[in-house]
């Protein structure tokens, strides 16, 4: 492979801030899903392979809820308001919470006293069952999976960090005036029915001025540094941060959170200390799945990815990797890992190696694990005999 020359040629430094923002936006979703993996691992020491499928079911719930609200294919409704988005979000979160708790109750709880590998195989089985069982009854939704009208926020937020080159700006202003005068002359000539060849000459002049102006505008835009974010993704990011703050409050400052941390620290002692371990595990699954549901709804609504029953596999695997990267079982670690994963992925696309974007997650993971075997924020303690 010829790394080296082509690797550096592709970097375009003025797009760096945009890429960092893209990475953070992508990372927020990974972090949201990774939280579910890491919380479940924290209390049960079980890799919940079915978490990606819970995510997938959340996206389908959002789709059905949007149909229920009347935004089916070819719907004649006007663009909706934020209320409909809230309904979609709450529906997704509720359904995902119920599915997560049901999976725990019927598939994982009977396995609790068994060796961990048996529980893991059950998790793989549940994951496959939801994927292929879902394919029997759920429809395939081509992009945009959810009617775009559901989302009222379709604009783009633009932030100018560094203005364009002043010389280019000056030239652009001049070209703009030139274009306007030529256009005016052409319209007038056409209106006053002048001979064809005169009109044609004026039109050519106008087109030339237009081209020069467009060219200058492009060069000016490129010389500046700006960030463009679709409004929907901004809302997605904001919601994710709010949910994370709520989770932090729940885990750090409430009785349930304290119980959760106790169970995660030592399962058996926690139950001896009078903590209802079964209840705490249920709550953990509920919260983790609800976070996945929120992520799924926002992903489906604002990004419009096509929906199949295998929709959750790749985000699931990457979020899982993010959780391990941060140190599985560690909540801040999952968030950090998610953001790192998002940034690494956009960085690879930025460098022009988009086809390796699925591999980079694992490369980063392996490199980090070589130096910190317990993940970035996890502790690699030696198990005692």
């Amino acid at each position: 492979m010829d790394l080296g020359v082509s690797l550096w040629a592709a970097f375009e430094l003025s797009t760096l801030p945009q890429q960092v923002v893209n990475g953070l936006l992508l990372g927020a979703i990974y972090a949201l899903i990774a939280l579910g993996y890491t919380m479940v691992y924290g209390v049960l020491r079980l890799i919940n392979f079915a978490h990606g499928e819970v995510f997938m079911l959340g996206a389908y719930t959002a789709l059905f809820a949007s149909w229920f609200l009347g935004y089916g294919k070819g719907s004649s409704l006007e663009t909706s308001g934020p209320l409909n988005l809230m309904i979609l979000l709450i529906a997704s979160m509720c359904v995902c919470g119920i599915v997560g708790v049901a999976i725990e109750r019927f598939a994982y709880r009977p396995m609790r006293s068994q060796p961990r590998i048996a529980a893991l195989i059950t998790a793989i089985g549940v994951s496959l069952l939801i994927q292929y069982g879902g394919a029997l009854v759920l429809p395939i939704a081509p992009p945009p999976s959810i009617n775009e009208k559901v989302n009222p926020y379709r604009g783009v937020v633009t932030m100018n960090l560094v203005g364009g080159d002043p010389q280019l700006l000056e030239g652009y202003e001049k070209a703009k005036i030139e274009f306007e005068t030529t256009e005016k002359a052409w319209t007038e000539a056409r209106a006053s029915k002048q001979p064809d060849d005169v009109v044609r000459a004026l039109r050519d002049k106008k087109n030339d001025a237009d081209r020069t102006m467009g060219d200058l505008q492009r060069r000016m835009d490129n010389s500046g540094v700006k960030i463009r974010i679709p409004q929907g993704q901004l809302i997605m990011f904001g919601t994710t941060i709010v949910l994370m703050i709520m989770l932090t409050y729940l885990v750090m400052f409430t009785a349930v959170g304290r119980a959760m941390r106790a169970v995660s620290h030592d399962f058996d002692s926690a139950s001896l200390m009078g903590i209802n371990v079964g209840k705490i595990v249920t709550i953990t699954f509920l919260i983790g799945s609800m976070l996945a549901g929120a992520g799924a709804m926002m992903n489906a609504t604002f990004l419009g990815t096509p929906l199949t029953t295998f929709f959750g596999v790749m985000p699931g695997v990457k979020a899982f990797v993010a959780a391990v990267l941060g140190g599985i079982g560690n909540i801040p670690g999952a968030v950090l890992g998610g953001f790192l994963m998002g940034i690494a992925e956009t960085a690879v696309i930025w460098a022009g190696y988009g086809q390796y974007k699925d591999a980079i997650a694992f490369i980063v993971l392996i490199v980090v694990l070589l130096f910190r075997p317990g993940g970035l924020l996890g502790s690699a303690k030696v198990e005692k005999v």
Binding site: A107, M111, I121, T122, V324, I328, D358, I366, P373
Partner: protein, 398 residues
Amino acid sequence: MKFFAVRAGSIALAVAACFALQSFAIGKGDLVFRLVFLAGLYVTLAVSLNLINGITGQFSIGHAAFYMVGAYGAGYTANNYAGSWGLKGPLLMLVLLLIGAVVAAVAGLVVGLPSLRLRGDYLAVVTLGFGEIIRIFVQNSPPLGGAYGLTVDAQFKFKYVWMVWLLAILCIAVCRNLLKTAHGLPFLAVREDEIASSAMGVNVTRVKVTAFVIGSAFAGAAGAMLANFDGFISPTSFPMELSFTILTMVVLGGTGSITGSALAGGVLFYIPEYLRDLKPVSGSSLVAAVIAVIAAVYVVKRIADHYHGDKGKRAALYLGTIIAGVVLQIILAAVFKNVPSLANANFEASKLRMVIFSSTLIILMLLRPQGVFAHHEFSWSWIQRLLGKKVPTTAVSV
């Protein structure tokens, strides 16, 4: 003397059985021929993963990667170099098989060395990640055919079913002999307790790397066979699910049991293939089957947990539950026939096969989490005990 006679006899028997299988399979048409071939590959894969997962206790979920490395190693060598060697037939296949094994063993070494510091789930993720990395790099590598796949020259296509089964038997023999001799004890010690075994003087590093290298070499050899049988390999033939399937074979058969992995490898490979040809199922009987299965599993699970009486009675209870489940299914199916929306919905069997596969997995794990064979092995004394003879148990049971 008797020892060598028994050994020579069993080797001769194994070779003869493999050739008999080849001549049997040839007469049955292309499809059966290919199935017999693939079954041998899966047995090899399952038993070799069992060496890493079950016997050494290193949790690897990236076995398909080694399989893939072996396939591409052999395929690429055959296309680019093998033409000038002047070898032909089985001998050439043997050389290609060794190349596949060596390439995969090197890959196993590469994965095994850094992962020594990791344990449990972290190791699992690294092996999974390694598999994905390999797949994506092959997908983007023009010399290996990229996403279009690699076509192996027609002159290097070998339809040797006997060789695959010989490979499977060799794999089983290597694992079995490892367990029966002093060389295998460190592997078991590492599985049971890494710290204690290292305190007892076991070189944990060497044991883990050896397990990885031997296991991946066999997977690579299986890959080489596949590449030269089909004549075409592509990255999509080695998806992540394949690793999960192989892992499932090992765990369902009973982690650590060679007999279990070998049988589960064959059976679990055959179930989805068999389900491919089923007729479409109507919605009413499908729903009825789902309800009946859930009910039967619930009752069986309760019996297993709460009934501690006579073994014969318990078996009778199990049998009764299963019969009751079948009856329930038939009755419910007749009832649901009257519901038009269910009776009119048809489900293709090809879509159902993975559903059945995954539910079987969950149900078996719920009812028998230690796997079908648990840690037991097939042996003649076991058969004799089963027939009611009193046979002394061996001193070291694995």
